[in-house]
Amino acid sequence: MAKHKTPLLDQLESGPWPSFVSDVKQEAEARAKNEKGLDYQIPVDCPEDLLGVLELSYEDGETHWKHGGIVGVFGYGGGVIGRYCDQPEKFPGVAHFHTMRVAQPAGKWYTTKFLRDVCDLWDLRGSGLTNMHGSTGDIVLLGTTTPQLEEIFFELTHNLDNDLGGSGSNLRTPAACMGMSRCEYACYNTQELCYNLTQEYQDELHRPAFPYKFKFKFDGCPNGCVAAIARSDLGFLGTWKGAIQIDQEAVAAYVGGEIAPNAGAHADGDWGAFDIQKEVVDICPSQCISYEDGKLKIDNSECVRCMHCINTMPRALRPGVERGTSIFCGAKAPILDGPQMGSLLVPFVEVNADDDYQAIKDIIEGVWDWWMEEGKNRERVGETMKRLGFGALVRAAGVPFDPRQVQEPRHNPYIFWKADDVEGGWDRDINDYRERHQR
């Protein structure tokens, strides 16, 4: 027998898509039955009270969580999002309902052993509810009480060999696309670079030392499966130099209808037979592809590596062999100054595991040194770039100026020059001027 009536939420049990309401209810039932005989460390009816407070929000059209909440574990300045219900008498099971962010493996591959261990820990000491995963990438353990935080952290580190993720004005949990683990497009090992930098900058992740939050994301190619260009302050998008690798026999197989275009992604639509001219040549953004006499030709010097032809004919075309990553800086959501996508800072850098990615770390640390000094309180690096200029960022990163860094040159003539760069400097005497020009 459910503790609270939830007539509104009950309507979200029907329909085909997996119902979170049904799932929370099954968790509530499992806790009530308690077949394992656990001595639950937070109220057994926590999931039922969550449904209760959510039903109340559905009636009121307003959230019932109090503002903020500052909790955590000793040694760290983040990792836990504190939360308290604003109706604790009605819903004591969620009076405390803190979220713990748990660092996830790059690419989100798991063994059932690991997930079961996390579930066992969370069953006993938390609500039994999770998010798989938070938008930034963390495993999100949703709902526990303050006294359990250190206990969970102790078990997590001592028994599961795993750390918390990030929150606050610091380096947040980095995330990567699945990269080389199961994709033929990956131009570098996104997961390894993600793991390496996460470990390298553990201090920056756990102890907020920045003006505001800062995120890394790692995409293996310009398709952007982890959305690095939109959702990270420094986004790494794999790319290549030189020629796209072409297998002309496979091109012929596509033209002959033996292989479905785009790996069969449009199979349920009525799009007719594959037309290489219409579907590849004509919509190449740089118009650098031609198909003549049964041969596909690409003028690679004009290619912008948008991935369209490769995506459309993955068995015939592959990225070039000289591979690395581009680095984009400054993506953020609208608050405060408007949304930004990452702007191209470094067109190409090698992803070199042999020297522990030093070239990439130099760029990261250059950007951080500058932004930590110049960034205002709660100013994302994207906004610091807008305030102090893209040139300041380029100099901070220690990389050369490059026309690739702009979509177009400026159209206003409000150009700053430094005194040292101008012949004769800026120290001038009005009397000299008057000798040539009467008042």
Binding site: W17, F20, W65, H133, N262
Partner: protein
């Protein structure tokens, strides 16, 4: 409920503490076929909705079955996922960047058996537990946020709006019949956690009333200059009020300059603004992240307000359906929703989607707003 210690000693909190170990190395979790062919994949195919095969240089194949998930999930459900992975996949699985679940097997036969098994699993309420799909040119899972389940600043709910929307577009999750993939995202306030600023269709919680001010508490709970600095339009200034003969330091909000972003409440608990009638949803369209053919693009606001209608948000889901249908009918193969709207012109987009155009949709935020107006005589009647 007796307290059970983990071994942590609150008397000596720093003793035996392990820190800064980060996540585990992903290598520990890879299935053998993935580990053996890491970085050596040749090509892939989508065999049917939700079922992919990747072929390696060695000739090895791995079949992936992708299924939907609600993101908010219980340990009971995760354990069911583990049972399936133990039975079919040697104890391995992964989650995608859009919070779907992927199971990997090594033969097509096993893949089809697993697909059937996944589609057979249902909750007591009748919904699928693990609907297979989310591949190719269809609608996949909705990246979303906390809503009324956990957050203090939302203007709507996340899990509810997402369930209602996915029920409406479910056929597109299990089919690949659209011109290109359609990414739908959801954020419950305009902090825009997640991907609504860069998705084909975005659901965004918005407010329409300025904050209330809890004058008697504000100075005790808030750093006033931070609340002032939190306002993108400069609507907030420090102020003093007198209540029952007592003077309080507080803030004043110039209401005609407030566009209800809620950022001051994020910084100052004494400025709440949520409101049943005022709050609701804006719809945005035309964003993308990939660099395929066209550049990445922001989503644009095309519906300024739809009321919150829990539990199923019918006006919102019907409007999304209408946009999706117009796109499916009008766009060329490979054309993302934003590319289609740009090609036909936004005036035509509003016409074919039967959406009213209102003043709210014209940008008026600072200098860049000018660049969104039309400085050409080129337009369609």
């Amino acid at each position: 409920m007796a307290f059970i210690s983990s071994g942590y000693n609150p008397e000596k909190p720093m003793e035996g503490r392990i820190t800064d170990i980060g996540p585990q190395h992903f290598d520990k979790f890879l299935p053998p076929v993935i580990k053996n062919n890491f970085g050596k994949w040749l090509y892939h195919e989508i065999l049917e909705p939700g079922l992919l095969v990747h072929v390696a240089e060695s000739g090895d194949k791995v079949y992936t079955i992708r299924c939907g998930a609600a993101r908010l999930m219980s340990v009971t459900l995760i354990r069911e996922v583990c049972d399936i992975a133990d039975k079919y996949c040697g104890g391995h699985l992964r989650f995608t960047t859009r919070n779907n679940i992927e199971f990997m097997v090594e033969t097509e036969e096993d893949a089809k058996a697993l697909k059937k098994h996944l589609n057979d699993q249902k909750f007591d309420g009748g919904s699928y537990k693990f609907p297979v799909g989310g591949t190719g040119a269809g609608v996949t899972n909705i990246v979303h946020t906390q809503g009324w389940v956990h957050c203090h600043t939302p203007a709507t709910d996340a899990s509810g709006t997402v369930k209602a929307t996915m029920d409406e577009v479910f056929e597109e999750f299990t089919h690949m019949r659209l011109p290109a993939p359609v990414r739908i995202s959801m954020a419950c306030c305009l902090n825009m956690c997640g991907a609504v600023h860069c998705s084909d269709i975005s659901i965004l919680g918005i407010h329409r009333k300025p904050p209330m001010i809890d004058h008697e508490y504000l100075d005790n709970l808030c750093e006033i200059p931070l609340a002032v600095a939190a306002c993108p339009t400069g609507a907030i200034r420090p102020s003093k009020v007198e209540i029952d003969g007592k003077s309080f330091k507080t803030v004043a909000v110039k209401e005609e300059r407030c566009m209800f972003c809620g950022n001051c409440y994020t910084m100052c608990p004494s400025m709440p603004l949520s409101d049943k009638e005022g709050d609701g949803i804006a719809l945005m369209v035309g964003g993308k992240i990939s660099n395929r053919i066209s550049k990445p693009a922001f989503s644009k606001v095309v519906v300024p307000f739809i009321p919150n209608e829990p539990p199923r948000w019918p006006t919102m889901t019907k409007t999304i359906r209408k946009i999706l249908d117009a796109y499916a009918k009008g766009a060329n193969k490979y054309e993302r929703l934003g590319d289609w709207a740009t090609r036909i012109g936004w005036e035509r987009f509003f016409e074919v989607c039967e959406l009213p155009f209102t003043e709210h949709l014209i940008d008026d935020f600072r200098d860049p707003a000018y660049y969104t107006w039309r400085q050409t005589s080129q337009f369609k009647w």
